[in-house]
């Protein structure tokens, strides 16, 4: 077992060192360490697996999914507002797959109102916390509870990921504690880093583990086949000039500023 990745537990043998190969969709170079890269024809019918990535704000969900799909740590990240979609094609044990990742916003208000929309039809859930921030770990049980509530099928694979383990002198969540928690919820635990280039393989391996599990599991959710890929063309129509667009009602319509004093 790789000591740096610290993949702490293998619940079943399927999880062990999956024989996988990766092909990136957008022509990005593959992270080092994954050999036998070859191009997969776009036309081929592929099974598609949908994975939702959730956890508190700032734990690194966007960086992790970006690392996996584009092979690098993003130069500049931004807070996710709503949901971002990323995709990567993989070859797992000779089968071409597509992994679709839904990178969700961490702020509570967003998850309360919209994340449930993306829980529908997902094949796996990745819970992410930040090993340098205890509160992000403590909130995991809330995320799990919410996931239980939204997911009709509780048997779909779930994994727990502790991110930012490059920050060795800021560790706040120790591995033992996280492991106990993961055990209690029947999930494998991974500690990794989206940032550390040396750990790029490990991030990949995490997603590979999930793919492998999904591939070999009996499909519990309907698995989709890939459809057309988008291409660019736009439709421009002329339109008349503006008239009377201004807000007719004074700007203060609905304004409550006057009666609020703090």
């Amino acid at each position: 077992m790789d000591s740096e990745l610290r993949e702490i537990e293998h619940r079943d043998n399927q999880l062990k060192s999956p024989q996988t190969r990766a092909v990136s969709t957008d022509g990005n170079t593959d992270p080092a360490g994954l050999q036998n890269v070859r191009v997969i024809e776009k036309q081929a019918q592929k099974r598609i697996f949908k994975i939702i990535v959730i956890g508190d704000s700032n734990v690194g969900k966007t960086c992790l999914t970006y690392r996996f799909c584009s092979g690098k740590f993003p130069d500049k990240t931004e807070a996710t507002i709503g949901v971002d979609f990323r995709e990567k094609q993989l070859e797992v044990d000779g089968e071409n797959l597509k992994l679709q990742l839904w990178d969700t916003a961490g702020q509570e208000r967003f998850r309360k109102s919209m994340v449930q929309h993306y829980y529908r039809n997902v094949h796996a859930v990745i819970f992410v916390y930040d090993i340098t921030k205890m509160s992000s770990f403590e909130n995991m049980s809330q995320w799990i509870e919410e996931c239980d509530r939204h997911n009709l099928n509780k048997n779909i694979p779930r994994i727990l990921v502790g991110n930012k383990c490059d920050e060795v002198d800021k560790v706040a969540v120790n591995t033992n504690m996280a492991q106990k928690f993961a055990d209690a919820h029947g999930m494998p635990l991974f500690e990794t880093s989206a940032k550390d280039d040396d750990k790029a393989n490990h991030v990949d391996a995490i997603f590979m583990t999930v793919s492998h599990k999904l591939k070999n599991a009996k499909p519990m959710m309907p698995v989709h086949m890939s459809s057309l890929s988008p291409h660019d063309s736009v439709n421009l129509r002329g339109s008349p000039q503006h008239r009377g667009l201004q807000s007719a009602v004074g700007v203060g319509a609905g304004d409550k500023s006057s009666d609020c004093s703090c």
């Binding site: 807070a79 979609f85 309360k112 919209m114 703090c262």
Partner: protein, 428 residues
């Protein structure tokens, strides 16, 4: 770029009844200062490419208007500003029409007038302690501001960017602390940056606070319920213009999240180029508060072909809509949004059966959350009550045993140990 003043005092808006901040106050934000919010990540050291005096200026602005049309516009704006009273209707028309308000110094003068922002007696900044005491909001704000670098124009000096980020935290916290009923959301910082890149802190505060209490009030609620209702309006609008496209989106269960960042950041999160963003802000500040929704519908309609091409795959449609083409015809889209607004005004669209149906789903969802919360609260309470019950039982048992022992002891001591009788609770 010529009329930049170093005058520190110009940063504070004078107490005068006429709202005319000096155009020279613009770049006081864009000057390096020593950062105070220590949680802000330091900018990586870089070879500095400072302007002469360590200033940075947003490209575009304050340059002499280039085209003939722009020159005419500047004249018209100046005329509307000079008339007594200021011709607000004319300014709104100028902000909406092609090219908007042309440049930064005009925006500083016109924007506050468009929304009647109170630029007098601007509330002073809260203290550092006050800001940090509001820890949940403060931490989220700092995390978001830390990740806002891509919103700054390329080429900006690191120390300057750091200084603006510091002011950005101040600005957001100033609004949130003054109006405690507002709840910060990720994306509000994008709105605030836009103002900070255009005007000084105090004027930016006046603008942002006014918006927070009016145009953006729903977005700052506790929950996203009212924002979700607003976003739903995109569907009947698309349906009116292109029922097939609407059907395609609904069949694929697209939802409205693709437009969330568009609406709640007024497109500032996705448009990239600050010039385009300011142009869109001109338009919104002069229009009805629902206009961001109309513009969203216009965006969707414009991408019709790409959306169909994405096929029956929610992810691809979502991806397609959340990627902004670099050659967006902004002026055309604003016009289209304006036409949609005139054709299907808010009062009319609010009665659309499709909207009513979609809104019902939102109500049901939030009712469900409410009742779940209520249940959880009840459970927590009954847990607490349960614990109290156990504790009271324990006390009772202890007390009964205590009494029993005491009685026995009393009986015993009464017979033999009279001198210890004082220890008995029943001794008299």
């Amino acid at each position: 770029m010529d009329s930049v003043s170093d005058d520190e005092s110009s940063e504070v808006i004078e107490e005068s009844s006429t709202v005319e901040p000096t155009p020279t106050s613009t770049d006081s934000n864009l000057r390096p200062t020593s950062p105070r919010h220590r949680l802000l990540d330091p900018e990586p050291p870089r070879s500095s490419q400072e302007d002469e005096d360590g200033f940075f200026r947003v490209p575009d602005d304050d340059v002499v208007p280039s085209s003939y049309v722009e020159k005419n516009k500047v004249v018209a704006i100046e005329k509307a500003l000079a008339s007594d009273p200021v011709d607000i209707m004319a300014l709104k028309n100028l902000a909406i029409s092609r090219g908007g308000l042309v440049n930064k110094s005009l925006r500083q003068r016109v924007w506050p007038l468009l929304i009647c922002a109170n630029t007098n007696n601007v509330t002073p900044k809260p203290s550092q302690e006050e800001m940090e005491a509001c820890s949940k909001t403060y931490n989220q704000v700092v995390m978001d501001v830390n990740r806002s670098s891509s919103r700054f124009p390329p080429g900006i000096d690191d120390t300057v960017r750091m200084a603006v980020k510091d002011k950005l935290v101040d600005l957001i916290m100033r609004v949130m602390l003054k109006n405690k009923q507002l709840k910060y959301y990720q994306g509000f910082h994008d709105v605030c940056i836009t103002f900070l890149l255009c005007m000084d802190e105090d004027l930016a505060f006046a603008m942002v606070e006014k918006l927070a209490m009016s145009y953006m009030r729903e977005y700052l609620d506790d929950t996203m319920e009212r924002t979700s209702l607003l976003l739903n309006t995109i569907y009947p609008l698309v349906n009116k213009c292109n029922p097939e496209l609407c059907e395609h989106m609904q069949r694929n269960d697209l939802g409205t999240i693709f437009a969330l960042s568009w609406v709640i950041t007024w497109f500032s999160h996705v448009l990239g180029d600050i010039k385009r963003i300011m142009r869109v802000f001109d338009f919104f500040l002069a229009s009805h508060r629902m206009m961001p929704v109309y513009l969203s519908a216009a965006f969707v309609l414009y991408r019709e072909q790409d959306i169909f091409d994405a096929g029956d795959e929610m992810g691809y449609i979502h991806k397609c809509l959340s990627t902004m083409p670099s050659d967006l015809p902004i002026e055309y889209l604003l016009e289209r949004a304006g036409d949609l607004y005139l054709q299907y005004p808010p009062t009319e669209i609010s009665r659309d059966p499709m909207l009513i149906r979609l809104n019902r789903e939102v109500f049901e969802h939030f009712n469900r959350i409410d009742s779940q919360n209520a249940r959880r609260l009840a459970r927590a309470n009954s847990d607490a009550r349960g614990r109290l019950f156990v504790r009271m039982t324990m006390w009772t048992v202890t007390a009964v045993i205590g009494v029993a022992i005491a009685v026995l002891y009393h009986a015993y001591s009464e017979n033999d140990w009279h001198h210890l009788g004082a220890l008995s609770p029943f001794s008299s």
